[in-house]
Symmetry: C2
Subunit: 149 residues, 2 copies
Amino acid sequence: MNRMTLTPIGYVKNSAGRETHSEEFRHLRSKIVIDPTYSDGLMDIEQNELITVIFYFDRTAGDYKLRLHPRGDESRPITGVFNTRSQYRPNPIGLTVVRLIERQGNTLAVEGLDALDGTPVLDIKPFVRTFDEGVEPDDPRQDRALRAR
Amino acid sequence: MNRMTLTPIGYVKNSAGRETHSEEFRHLRSKIVIDPTYSDGLMDIEQNELITVIFYFDRTAGDYKLRLHPRGDESRPITGVFNTRSQYRPNPIGLTVVRLIERQGNTLAVEGLDALDGTPVLDIKPFVRTFDEGVEPDDPRQDRALRAR
């Protein structure tokens, strides 16, 4: 298998564009509007305080360098793209853990999503410490209820 | 834009198959062999203790239910797929934070990757608390050095 094709499950709606400064995303409210085809998959999502949103950097797709100055800042030393969170990547996949504020039908209101208005969303997952923090099952941070998923 | 095409940057090599129990992955050692085309993107990756691996559930692609019993266990109540980490998803993307043990050339040795032998890898990112834990910039857990990426 050499190529995989994905289809958006929904889109981001917010006030962010390419001119938005990275610091502004921290408290930015966004909506994620899920396609009604996938509504049933949202069952119980509102039980999560944190969700992981996987999205597609559509504005930068196909445009990357394997080595770059982080954030395009030439005062920072060049490093490998896989050592950065740059949106210019071989596979332009973005990934952010955000706070889920509320769900209304197919629409999720979230805080902290660093994606631009109109960004295609590929997946949503509950945040689970064993997968997302590399903790051991006997680590006190481990939440057994979440782990059961 | 309705469909996105991705290309693997590398593949997982380990001893895991479909019969491997989920608990066994916690301490499983895997290798991630990156295609030489992308070698330059690995520069400095060895500075990270934890990396996020994004991979493609090739064994389950195209096979999903929007509502399911978590882990196929009928004693667990049915819930939405986006409220689970199931490998049966509309876009079969897997995501796990793993421990990076060492790098040798294009090969990363990691611990805790819950992907089967031969799984295509789509992306690798450094683990950064502000993106991956939903923490605030003034949260004491915040690591300023990492955040700079």
